[in-house]
Every structure is written in C-alpha cells, then in structure tokens.
C-alpha cells in the first residue's frame, strides 16, 4: 500500500497553564484537514491534553518546554495521525505507572492520564529513561480496521 504524508507540523510550547489546549487545537485542525471524523478528533485531542498535562506536572524538566510533532497521512483505507509529545525531564517508569492505576470504572481521583491516553488512541508507545526525558508516540486512525 502506498501512503503519502500530507500534513506535518512541529510545535514547541511553554509549560504554562492551559497550553494543552493550543496543542489540541493544532492537532484538531490538522485532523480536520485530513477529513477525520469529529469523534476521532475529540478522542485524539483528549489524549493530547492528558499527555501535555503529564509532561507539565510530572516531567520536572528544566527547559519548561513541550515538543510536539504531528504527521497526518492519507492511506487507501483512510487516514492516520501520528503524534509525538516530548519533554526533556526526569522520565518515568510506565509499567509502574500502569500498576498504580485502578481498573476501568473504579473511582480514583488522580493518576489516570496514561490510562485515558491509551483508551482514546489506537496505538501508544512510550520512550523514556531516567533523566533522559520522555517521548510518547500516539496514533489515531480514521478506520479501526487498518490492516
């Protein structure tokens, strides 16, 4: 199958209150240009919001910046958006973070950001190391059956 990268965007945002909205709007605009449905866009933007909040609240980075890259691609069976969100902070242990969270539906006040990200996106991978920062790569497909 041939695929063509049609849209690409890179942003560097300061870690200030509500900056996640700017990131979400940028990704949403790109997704709309690709013809992605509003429900898929809403899911993706909520995941981006949680990833940016995690970076802002937990990374402890010194440069106070979030680095984002969006790539929108049209394919024969639909479209996809790849999102990379990077911070230069202390890193974290994703398995430990997952082990702390309760089951879906169990009421818990905090620490659900990663769970929401994984629920709202089709693919999520995390590259992180102690003191080496974190990059979360998320993919949203217009069609779920993308084999």
């Amino acid at each position: 199958m041939t695929s063509t990268a049609e849209r690409q965007m890179e942003l560097t945002l300061p870690m200030v209150a509500d900056i996640e909205i700017a990131a979400a709007r940028a990704a949403g605009n790109l997704a709309r240009e690709l013809g992605m449905s509003s429900e898929k866009i809403d899911e993706m933007t909520h995941a981006i919001i949680e990833a940016c909040i995690n970076a802002r609240e937990h990374s402890g980075c010194e440069d106070n910046r979030i680095y984002l890259r969006f790539v929108g691609t049209s394919q024969g069976d639909g479209s996809r958006i790849d999102v990379w969100i990077t911070d230069h902070g202390r890193g974290f242990d994703p398995d430990e973070a997952r082990s702390r969270r309760p089951a879906v539906g169990a009421t818990h006040k905090r620490g659900r950001g990663l769970q929401l990200i994984e629920a709202h996106m089709d693919e999520v991978s995390i590259s992180t190391s102690s003191g080496g920062g974190t990059t979360i790569h998320m993919v949203k497909y217009e069609k779920k059956n993308h084999d």
Partner: protein, 116 residues
C-alpha cells in the same frame, strides 16, 4: 492562554441544574465545586450538571467532579450529568464517574427521572 469555565445555576423546586460552558480543568472544576458546595449548604440534595457547552474535560477536572459527587453522597444526595459528548461520556466511564452518578442523554429525561 486561559480557557475560563462559566457556570450558570437554575434552581428547581427539588434541586438545581448547573450549566457549564468551557473547559473543565483544575480551575473549571473548582468553579463547579464552589457552586455545588454553595447549593449543598443551601440543602440542595439533587444536582444535575448539564455539560452541553463543554467539549473538553481533563483528568484533573474529573477528579474534582468525583470529590463533589463524594461530598453529595455523604450528605445523602445525588448528582447526575446530561448532554455529554461521546468522548466525555467514555472518559467518565473510564474514570469511574458512571458508578456513582447517573448519566442522561438529554436534560428533559434527566429532569423527569430526577424529579426536578
């Protein structure tokens, strides 16, 4: 950049409806909590949150909503939601709100079911 949440209150004979407009984050969640606690102090025990003009919530805002629900349950009351977008509905289920608060598709049904 700020995304201020606005909250409007409609008092009913047997409770109240809160209408939210905007982003429910930490600040927005606190704004809802302040209005909800004022109503609880005024003996309101049935509260409906209509989120028709809210398109984005984050996990911090939801954690505050959970605190409001817990406080209302402690007082013997109940909180319900209506007019959620599909992604907010899904997020509420993941976060566990659906276990402790009823969720209605529209306000008319909610008002009837809640007796407001």
């Amino acid at each position: 950049m700020t995304e201020e949440l606005r909250v409007a209150v409609d008092r009913k004979a047997n409770g109240a409806v809160l209408y939210t407009k905007g982003y429910i984050n930490n600040v927005g969640g606190e704004e809802i909590a302040n209005r909800a606690y004022e109503l609880m102090d005024d003996n309101v025990r049935t509260l409906l949150l209509n989120l028709r003009d809210t398109k984005i919530v984050n996990s911090i805002g939801i954690s505050i909503l959970i605190e409001i629900i817990e406080k209302m349950i402690d007082k013997g009351g109940s909180i319900a939601f209506c007019c959620l977008t599909p992604v907010i509905h899904k997020t509420f289920q993941i976060m566990g709100l659906a276990n402790y608060a009823k969720i209605f598709e529209n306000e008319d049904t909610a008002l009837k079911e809640l007796g407001l």
